[in-house]
Symmetry: C2
Subunit: 335 residues, 2 copies
């Protein structure tokens, strides 16, 4: 059904080389504008997109593939199919692995990331996802399918704003992006504390928390930098712990952790973060149309004044009166 709405053109196309990653914080809009999923389809080739859906994390049956099949086709993808290893044995099966070969996009659903990583990581299937990403295929995932993308993965844990020593568990992720840990449902489930805990214990890992219906799009750009761009309804929260002072090595199991000097970035849609430099990408300021118009009018006014002075045909007093009259006539908008 390639007669769905056109995918949005909100971000730059993928650079050659490694494919983009799209980490979605769960609960992405499936009924309205579908801006995050549309971006995934666009990155996978739009009308030429052939998308393999991996539902291994999910506890649901085939209906989860049916949902994404319908969604991606509605948005305009050419082909969508499910690939579902349910054991490490199946994840080594060449037939199963081979079903990823033709995909221009790979999408991992939500569910239990520890199930996904325990079945996929280190198998031929896991290696094929990485190889596809290396040759330019976009890899996306939501919730569990976002968490697994990083080298270090939140296995499970509790919510809450306060970091505590044993509130979450770290496991190994697929490693499509290194030295980061991605958490999801971030604002909605109040996961500040657990991501801070992970950064306090491993300060070289950049903590990336993705809100629901929000995507962190990670691309290798032409200048050699890897950047993260934000799309969707919420924010991406980044904890940079490189300058942290913490008591994580000596804190008691349930005690709140000291985590001082963490640099925090809260990034709404449209903003971008340089993961290589660990710094915000500065963008041109938004121009207020009213202010621009006022400046244009004032500029015309000044040109006329300069002409008058150059022609030396009027006294300054006359000029001042003329300008006062023009202003009272509404030549310049008031504040």
């Amino acid at each position: 059904m390639p007669n769905g709405p056109e995918p949005t053109q909100s971000t730059t196309p993928p650079a050659p080389g490694r494919g983009p990653l799209l980490a979605i914080g769960g609960a992405e809009d499936k009924l309205g504008k579908r801006s995050v999923l549309s971006e995934f389809v666009r990155l996978a080739g739009g009308p030429d997109a052939r998308i393999a859906v991996i539902p291994t994390a999910s506890s649901l049956g085939d209906e989860i593939v049916d949902v994404y099949d319908a969604l991606f086709r509605k948005i305009g993808a050419a082909d969508v199919w499910g690939v579902r290893p349910e054991s490490r044995e199946q994840a080594e099966d060449p037939e199963v692995v081979g079903r990823l070969a033709d995909a221009t996009g790979i999408f991992m659903t939500g569910g239990n990331q520890l199930k996904l990583s325990a079945i996929v990581n280190g198998t031929a299937f896991g290696e094929e996802i990485k190889a596809a990403h290396e040759r330019g295929v976009v890899v996306g995932g939501t919730s569990a399918g976002a968490s697994i993308q990083s080298s270090h993965m939140v296995a499970f844990g509790t919510g809450g704003a306060t970091p505590k020593q044993r509130m979450t568990q770290l496991a190994g992720g697929l490693g499509l992006i290194r030295d980061v840990v991605i958490d999801q449902h971030f604002g909605q489930r109040n996961r500040y504390g657990r991501l801070l805990m992970l950064v306090a214990q491993s300060p070289h890992l950049l903590g990336i928390g993705v809100d629901e219906d929000t995507g962190a799009l990670i691309t290798d750009d032409d200048d050699g930098h890897t950047r993260l761009r934000v799309l969707g309804r919420g924010v991406v929260t980044i904890f940079d712990g490189r300058a942290i002072v913490s008591n994580a090595h000596e804190a008691r199991r349930t005690a709140p952790l000291l985590a001082s000097g963490v640099v925090l970035h809260v990034l709404p849609a449209g903003s971008a973060f340089d993961l290589t430099d660990k710094a915000l990408v500065r963008q041109a300021p938004v121009v207020d149309p009213g202010e621009a118009e006022e400046l244009a009018v004032a500029g015309r006014d000044l040109k006329r004044l300069a002409r008058d002075i150059a022609a030396d045909d009027v006294s300054p007093t006359v000029l001042r009166r003329r300008r006062a009259r023009q202003h009272s006539e509404g030549d310049l908008p008031s504040d």
Copy 2:
């Protein structure tokens, strides 16, 4: 009833000059160890404490004074009384103002901080609180009574992790401490977003979020620095926005705000923050008794070795054998 439990001695006594401030994040323990309230009584003079309770923020009647009266006396205070202006007219009444004169501690209850500030700020009563603080009286407060202490006060607002442009309202506080904004019930009501919003809009204000049953004790120390020490069950969260990049001047009303480069400090009980330098106060590391014992044993061992070498009475081979024998006999604990 000065026969209550001894107040704890967890922090240093107040420096001469301005009194300490104790901002409590609400819901302080009233039935168990009462560690936060005990600290307030201690700072007010322990068995000599004479405490004026200001319940103006509260919508409750005299029972709120009765509760703190019973608590402070149980902890060991000498005298406790309520002073309750309910209008700006009453807050100008010399009789009402005079009832603060003898207090060694002033305590403001929870409730509605906007009611408290609207009645008290800028009146003779408000000025008397500030004068008492200047002459060394400890001023404490919980919830609304914490918020009002800073120069800038959260009037009201909504919870949530994501900062948005119009999620909270700033009003003027009593100004016992300047250039900060104190929020309370911080982790419990997920007020990260609103405090970040305030710091994004006013980056020179240090955002201080105090958890429930947690106290931020602020003192002017002898070296001229003002420091914040944390006591109680939760943490104090500090947002330092001096290096922030934000779009607060142009963001839409309900859109998530960009807030990049905020320095975050999460401070559990026992930690301290220098408000003058805006930096963590470094503390001596906790020494592990097992590790200390191991080092002492190894030290004795090395001394013996040095004696042997100085005496030149044994070959290195003999020494090595002797050391190996000592280790296998358990002279050094194993890891």
